[in-house]
Structure formats: C-alpha cells, structure tokens
C-alpha cells in the first residue's frame, strides 16, 4: 500500500509519521509542499507541526500551498486523507472537514497522553478495531474544536464525529476534556468518511517500550482495511 506524507515548512511530525507508516508496511513517500503533483497514493497524511510558523491562523497558509489543490482533488475523488494535529488544522482551513480549532481554553500548550473513544467504526480508519478506547498523545496549543450550532447538528446527523476525549473507561465527560473542545470532540470526518482530522498523534504510540501500542493497533488495522 502506498502512502504520502506532505512536508510543509515548519512540519515536525512528518518523519515520525514516515517511521510509523513504514513500520507497519506502507511504502511511504515524503512530498514537499511546493510540488504540484501527488504521487500515486492509497493514503495521504498531513502531519503535525507548526506549518508556516502558525502565521495568521494555524494551518491557514499551508491550506493554500501548491500541493494542497492536488490533495483536495484526491480527497474529493474519494481518496483517504488523514490530518494529525497541525494536519487537522490544515484540513479545517481547506474546508474538507467542518469547524475550526481555536486556542486551548486555558491558554496552555498541552502535552500529555489522553484517552479517546471511537464513535463510529463504519469507516476505513476504524473498521474492525477490537478496542473502543485508545490511548494517544496530544501536543498542541490550538486544539479547541469549535463549530456553529448548525454545523454541530449536521456533523451529528451524518455521524461525522470520529473520536471524543474520555477517561480510560471511555466515559465522555467535561473533566476529561483537555482543551475546551465542543462536546469533547477530538477528531472529525468529512461526510463521506474518507477524510479524517484529529488532534491526537497515533504515530507517537507505536513502541512497546517507549509508549503504548494503541498507535500500532491503529496503523496495522488501517493497513488491513485499505488492502
């Protein structure tokens, strides 16, 4: 299976993602933001980081870069596009997924492990996963998901909420919400469920001795679902 990770100026999780994808059997290519054409891919990943120094609004500059037109066309033709952290911020700025990511509620940069509850397994990303609660890592300053009332109704009606912040038992409550996100939302799909944006980093949970292995489960399962 072929994947592409897009590197923007200021991306800093691109190589971690490359390591993770290769570890679980993807043949991955790194793609520079100024390239016009996307290599043939089964999965495109927008990695975490601080693209363009977070100027104007996080992800806003990257969303207008040259490669993004190809990524948008790829997504609109049904291709799998996953945005992690800054990649999620880029996705909302392109309009591929609804809403925006605001400054964290208490103005802190948050760097810690969190639990997330899967809401919807009827998609390529989470289908057949044998766990409903995963432990991932977050590291962000602008992860406070916000959308209008109309958008919230629409994403609920279309089952577009991918993951919620929760505790280790999967309880979704305000006290387990790290950043003020509306309804504890940590990740969102587009309507068709081929585009996924999420703040947590699965690529940081792929080593038995250094982290947990819930990221390993996620990537192994994703690869099997794409095959």
């Amino acid at each position: 299976m072929k994947s592409s990770v897009i590197t923007f100026p200021g991306s800093n999780c691109d190589r971690d993602m490359d390591v993770a994808l290769k570890k679980f059997g993807f043949s991955n290519k790194m793609v520079w933001h100024d390239d016009g054409e996307l290599p043939k891919s089964d999965l495109v990943v927008l990695p975490g980081g601080f693209s363009y120094g977070d100027y104007l609004r996080c992800g806003s500059m990257a969303s207008k870069s040259k490669i993004m037109q190809s990524v948008i066309n790829f997504a609109k033709s049904g291709g799998l596009v996953m945005g992690i952290c800054n990649g999620f911020q880029i996705l909302v700025e392109t309009g591929l997924v609804p809403g925006v990511l605001l400054r964290n509620k208490y103005l802190e940069f948050i760097c810690k492990n969190v639990f997330v509850k899967l809401d919807n397994k009827e998609n390529t990303y989470f289908k057949n996963l044998n766990k409903d609660v995963l432990e991932f890592h977050i590291a962000h300053n602008e992860g406070n998901y916000f959308c209008t009332k109309d958008q919230l109704k629409e994403i609920k009606d279309n089952n577009q909420i991918a993951i919620y912040y929760c505790n280790s038992e999967g309880k979704i409550e305000n006290q387990y919400n790290p950043n003020g996100s509306i309804k504890n939302i940590a990740g969102i799909f587009n309507k068709e469920k081929n585009v996924l944006g999420m703040m947590p980093h699965p690529e940081r949970m792929i080593d038995e001795s250094l982290s947990g292995e819930d990221g390993s489960l996620f990537f192994k399962n994703l690869l099997n679902n794409i095959k």
Binding site: K64, K105, L107, F146, C147, T148
Partner: protein, 80 residues
C-alpha cells in the same frame, strides 16, 4: 490606495486571550471595563485608484484567507 481590514471574533466565540487581557487590565487598576475582545488589523496597499474596486479586492481576500468566517467577522475601511 491603502485599504484596512479589521477581523474580529464573532460574538458567541470564546476569546480566552481577550479574557486574560481584561483580567490584567483590571489588576492594573483599569476597573471600568465590561469586556475585552482581541482581533486582527491589516493594512493593504492595493495598486488600484478606484476605492470601490480596491475595497472589493480586500473583501475577496478577507473571505478567502484573512478571516475564517466560521468564527470571525471582518470590516473594511478605506484609509487613503
């Protein structure tokens, strides 16, 4: 001509930075404040002499890049 754009957060969007600035001002003795909201200001020199055309260009910029209309409003002011 120069055109300015002011971007502000919509009313129902939480502005934690504005809140902290409000608290700081309060602590400094500026007690007569009911709310502080932080925004952005752009000054754009457009190569265009017709003010209406120049403003229309900046309006397009606001819609496409400078503002995120989910959370922000914009106001355009002719400065020169």
């Amino acid at each position: 001509m120069k055109v300015s754009a002011i971007i502000t957060l919509k009313k129902d969007v939480l502005d934690p930075q504005g809140k902290v600035i409000h608290q700081a001002l309060d602590g400094m003795g500026f007690e007569n404040i009911s709310e502080v909201r932080q925004g952005k200001y752009f000054e754009i020199d457009v190569n265009e002499n017709d003010p209406n055309k120049a403003k229309a260009v900046v309006e397009d910029m606001c819609k496409k890049l400078l503002a995120n209309l989910v959370i922000e409003n914009f106001k355009i002011i002719e400065t020169q």
